[in-house]
C-alpha cells in the first residue's frame, strides 16, 4: 500500500515536470500554429547549460536561472522572427524544427559527448534531499519543479484570459488578419509568445539537470510522454496541460509500480491513443486559446 501511495505521489510530482516540458510545445502549437520539435532539444540544451554553469562557477544550480532563462527567451524570439521571414505553415514547421532538432542534438553530442552527466551532490543540495510525510517521501527537486509548473500553468492561463497581451494572443490565434485590423501587431505578439514558450522549456531543462542524469539520448525519450500530455491537455490550454501531465505521470508511475517498468511506456501510449479517439480536442477545452 505504501508502495502504491508513494507511486502516486511520485507520479503527481513527475507529472509537474512533464507538464512543464509540454507547456512550450502546446502553446506554440495552439497559438502560433508551429509544431516546434526543437523544444525537445531546447530542454536538453538548457539542462546542459545549467550543468556547465554550475560546474564552471561552482554556484547553486537554481541561480543559473537568471542567465539561462533570458538567453532562451532570446533564442525563442529569434526563431519566431525567422519563421516570420520564411512564412511557415504547420506542416513545414514540423520539418524545419525537426532539422533544428537534429542540428542541436549533434551540437550537444559534439560539445558534451554521449557520456552520462550529473551535477555532483556537493553543488546540488536538491537532488538528494526530500521531505517525509508519514512513509511517503517528497523529493525537493521534484517539489520545486511541480510548484513551477503550477505557477506557470495558472499564471499563463490568467495572462491569456485577463490581460491585453493575452487577448491579443487569442485574437492572433483565431484570426491573424482580423487581429491586425483591430490594431494588434501579430508579429510582435508571436515573437514575445515564442520567447515565453522557450523560457518554459529552459525551466524544464533546469529541473531535469537538477533532478537526474543527463545524456544526449534523453531528448528523444521525451517524445512519447510530451506528445501524449500535449494532446490530452488540449492545444494551447495551459491548465489542461498541467492536468494531463499529472494524469500521465500518475498512470505511468502506478503502472510501473504494479506491473513492472515495461508497462509505463505502454500505458502512456494507450493514454495517447485513447485521447485521440475520445477527446481529440483535449480534456478541458473551454479555456483553450485556439
Amino acid at each position: 500500500m505504501d508502495l502504491i501511495s508513494q507511486g502516486v505521489v511520485s507520479g503527481v510530482l513527475v507529472g509537474g515536470l512533464y507538464a512543464l516540458m509540454s507547456l512550450g510545445l502546446s502553446l506554440s502549437w495552439g497559438a502560433l500554429k508551429i509544431i516546434n520539435l526543437a523544444h525537445f532539444s531546447f530542454i536538453l540544451l538548457s539542462a546542459y547549460f545549467v550543468y556547465q554553469l554550475t560546474l564552471s562557477y561552482q554556484i547553486d544550480p537554481l541561480v543559473t536561472m537568471v542567465l539561462v532563462v533570458p538567453l532562451f527567451f532570446g533564442i525563442g524570439a529569434l526563431m519566431q522572427v525567422f519563421f516570420h521571414m520564411v512564412k511557415v505553415d504547420e506542416f513545414k514547421s514540423l520539418i524545419i524544427t525537426f532539422g533544428i532538432f537534429i542540428i542541436l542534438q549533434s551540437l550537444i553530442r559534439t560539445i558534451w559527448s554521449a557520456d552520462f552527466r550529473r551535477i555532483g551532490s556537493e553543488l546540488n543540495p536538491y537532488a538528494t534531499e526530500s521531505i517525509h510525510i508519514g512513509a511517503v517521501a517528497f523529493p525537493v527537486s521534484q517539489l520545486v519543479a511541480f510548484a513551477a509548473a503550477v505557477l506557470i500553468a495558472v499564471g499563463m492561463s490568467l495572462l491569456l484570459s485577463r490581460t491585453y497581451f493575452g487577448k491579443a494572443v487569442r485574437a492572433v490565434a483565431q484570426d491573424r488578419e482580423m487581429a491586425r485590423a483591430f490594431g494588434v501587431d501579430p508579429r510582435r505578439v508571436a515573437v514575445i509568445l515564442s520567447g515565453l514558450t522557450t523560457c518554459f522549456s529552459a525551466l524544464a531543462g533546469l529541473f531535469v539537470a537538477v533532478g537526474q542524469t543527463i545524456f544526449p539520448g534523453l531528448a528523444v525519450s521525451w517524445f512519447g510522454i510530451v506528445f501524449s500530455v500535449v494532446i490530452l491537455g488540449g492545444l494551447g490550454n495551459t491548465v489542461g496541460t498541467l492536468t494531463a501531465g499529472v494524469i500521465v505521470g500518475v498512470a505511468s508511475n502506478t503502472a510501473a509500480v504494479t506491473w513492472g517498468p515495461l508497462s509505463a511506456p505502454l500505458v502512456t501510449f494507450l493514454i495517447l491513443i485513447a485521447a485521440l479517439l475520445f477527446r481529440p480536442e483535449g480534456l478541458l477545452t473551454r479555456r483553450s486559446v485556439a
Binding site: 511557415v88 525537426f98 532539422g99 537534429i102 542534438q105 549533434s106 511506456p265
Partner: protein, 391 residues
C-alpha cells in the same frame, strides 16, 4: 501497355541487369571491394526512402514511423534467428509481415478517425517508434537491454560471401520496392492516393475508397521497410535498441525524399543516391560529427526552398543536367583531384544537385537572357518582360 510504361520497364530491367552483374565486374576489373559495400548501403536507403514515399509522398500523410517499421523488421529477424535459431532466409519474410501487420494495426486505429489531421498523424507515428523502443528495451523476450548478436549467422551458400549476399539481398528488395512504388504511382490506387493528398474530402466525395487506399499505402510502406530491416540486421551484426530505434532512419528518408521530390516515384531513389554518396564522403573525410549538422541544415533549407524536388527539375532540364554531371566528372577525372571513383562521382553529383537547387526564377532569367526560344522555355512575351525587368 503504353509506350512510356514499356520504356520505363526496359530501363528498369537494364538497371537491374547492370547492378546484378556488378559484383562479378568488380572482381574481374579489380575495382575496390568497398564499391560493393557502398552500393548495397545505397540500395538499402533507396528501398527505405521509396517505401516511405508510398505513404507520405503519394497519400500526403507525413510519417515519422519509418524507424518503427524498420525496427520491427530488424528485431523480428534478430529474435527468430538469434534467440530461436531459425535459418535466416526463413525468418526474412516474417520481418516484412510483422511490420506490415503493425502498420495495418496502427492504420485501423488512426485512419478510422475522421478528425485525425496530418500533423497529429505525424506525431502519432513518432510516438510509435519510441514506445516500441521502450518495449524492446524492457522485454527480455525481445532484447531486454542486452542486445542480440547476429554475427556468424549462417547465410545460404548460393548467396555467396557476406558482402555479395548483402548486395544480392538488398538489390532484390530495393528493386521490388521501387517496382511497387512505380506500379502504384501509375495505377488506380496511385491516382486515388494523389487525390487524397490533394484534398481528402473531395476524394472521398468523388468515390475514392479513402480508408482502404490509405491502409494499402501504409501497409506497403511498413511491409517493405520491415523486409529491408530484416536484411539489415545482418549488416548491423550486433543489434541494440539504441542503434535500431534512433532518429537516423526517419531523418534520412525524409531528407532523401524531400530532396529528390515526393510526387514522383523516382524522387526518393535519386535523393537516396545523392544523400548516401554525400554522407559517405563526409564520413570518410573524418567529418562524421559535422555530417549530421550539415544534414539537419540541409533539411531546413530544402523544406524552405524546394517545392517539387530535384528529380522533376533534372528531367525538365536534362540537357543541362547531363552537361554539368559529365562535365564535372570529366574535369575531376582529368585533373585527378581524388583517386577514388566514389569521390569523382560525389563531386559530379553535388555540382549537379546544387545547380538544380537554384531557384526557378534564376533559370527563367538565364533562359530569357539567351533569347527565350530554347526548348521548353517561357513564351516570348514573358521573356521580354523579364529582360525589361532586369535592365
Amino acid at each position: 501497355m503504353t509506350g512510356s510504361r514499356l520504356r520505363t520497364l526496359i530501363g528498369f530491367g537494364a538497371v537491374a541487369l547492370t547492378l546484378g552483374f556488378f559484383p562479378a565486374l568488380q572482381e574481374a576489373l579489380d575495382l575496390p571491394r568497398f564499391l560493393v559495400i557502398f552500393l548495397f548501403t545505397t540500395m538499402f536507403w533507396v528501398s527505405q526512402a521509396s517505401s516511405w514515399n508510398i505513404l507520405t509522398g503519394f497519400a500526403g500523410y507525413f510519417s515519422f514511423g519509418q524507424g518503427a517499421w524498420y525496427g520491427i523488421g530488424v528485431y523480428t529477424v534478430s529474435v527468430l534467428v538469434g534467440k530461436h535459431g531459425w535459418p535466416f532466409v526463413a525468418a526474412l519474410p516474417f520481418a516484412g509481415l510483422a511490420a506490415g501487420a503493425a502498420g495495418l494495426l496502427l492504420g485501423v486505429v488512426v485512419f478510422r478517425l475522421r478528425r485525425l489531421s496530418g500533423e497529429i498523424f505525424a506525431l502519432t507515428t513518432l510516438a510509435v517508434a519510441f514506445v516500441l523502443a521502450a518495449v524492446a528495451r524492457l522485454s527480455p523476450a525481445i532484447d531486454g537491454g542486452t542486445g542480440i548478436f547476429m554475427t556468424g549467422t549462417p547465410i545460404p551458400e548460393f548467396l555467396g560471401d557476406f558482402s555479395t549476399a548483402m548486395y544480392r539481398l538488398t538489390l532484390v528488395f530495393a528493386l521490388l520496392t521501387v517496382l511497387a512504388a512505380y506500379l502504384i504511382h501509375d495505377s488506380r490506387l496511385g491516382w486515388g492516393l494523389f487525390a487524397i493528398r490533394d484534398d481528402e474530402q473531395v476524394a472521398d466525395g468523388l468515390g475514392v475508397p479513402v480508408f482502404r487506399y490509405k491502409m494499402a499505402a501504409l501497409g506497403a510502406n511498413a511491409f517493405f521497410a520491415g523486409l529491408m530491416g530484416g536484411v539489415w540486421s545482418l549488416q548491423l551484426g550486433f543489434v541494440t535498441v539504441d542503434d535500431v530505434f534512433n532518429i537516423r532512419v526517419p531523418l534520412f528518408v525524409i531528407l532523401m525524399s524531400v530532396l529528390g521530390g515526393m510526387s514522383h516515384w523516382m524522387g526518393p531513389v535519386l535523393g537516396a543516391v545523392i544523400i548516401t554518396t554525400l554522407s559517405d564522403r563526409l564520413n570518410s573525410a573524418g567529418l562524421a560529427d559535422v555530417s549530421q549538422i550539415i544534414i539537419g541544415a540541409l533539411l531546413v533549407v530544402l523544406a524552405l526552398a524546394v517545392r517539387e524536388g530535384v528529380y522533376l527539375r533534372m528531367r525538365d532540364r536534362w540537357v543541362t543536367t547531363a552537361a554539368i554531371f559529365f562535365g564535372v566528372l570529366a574535369l575531376v577525372t582529368v585533373l585527378d583531384i581524388n583517386s577514388s571513383l566514389i569521390s569523382d562521382f560525389a563531386y559530379a553529383i553535388v555540382a549537379t544537385t546544387v545547380a538544380m537547387l537554384v531557384p526557378s526564377g534564376v533559370w527563367e532569367r538565364v533562359r530569357a537572357a539567351r533569347g527565350g526560344n530554347g526548348r521548353g522555355g517561357p513564351p516570348d512575351i514573358l521573356a521580354e518582360d523579364l529582360t525589361e525587368a532586369n535592365t
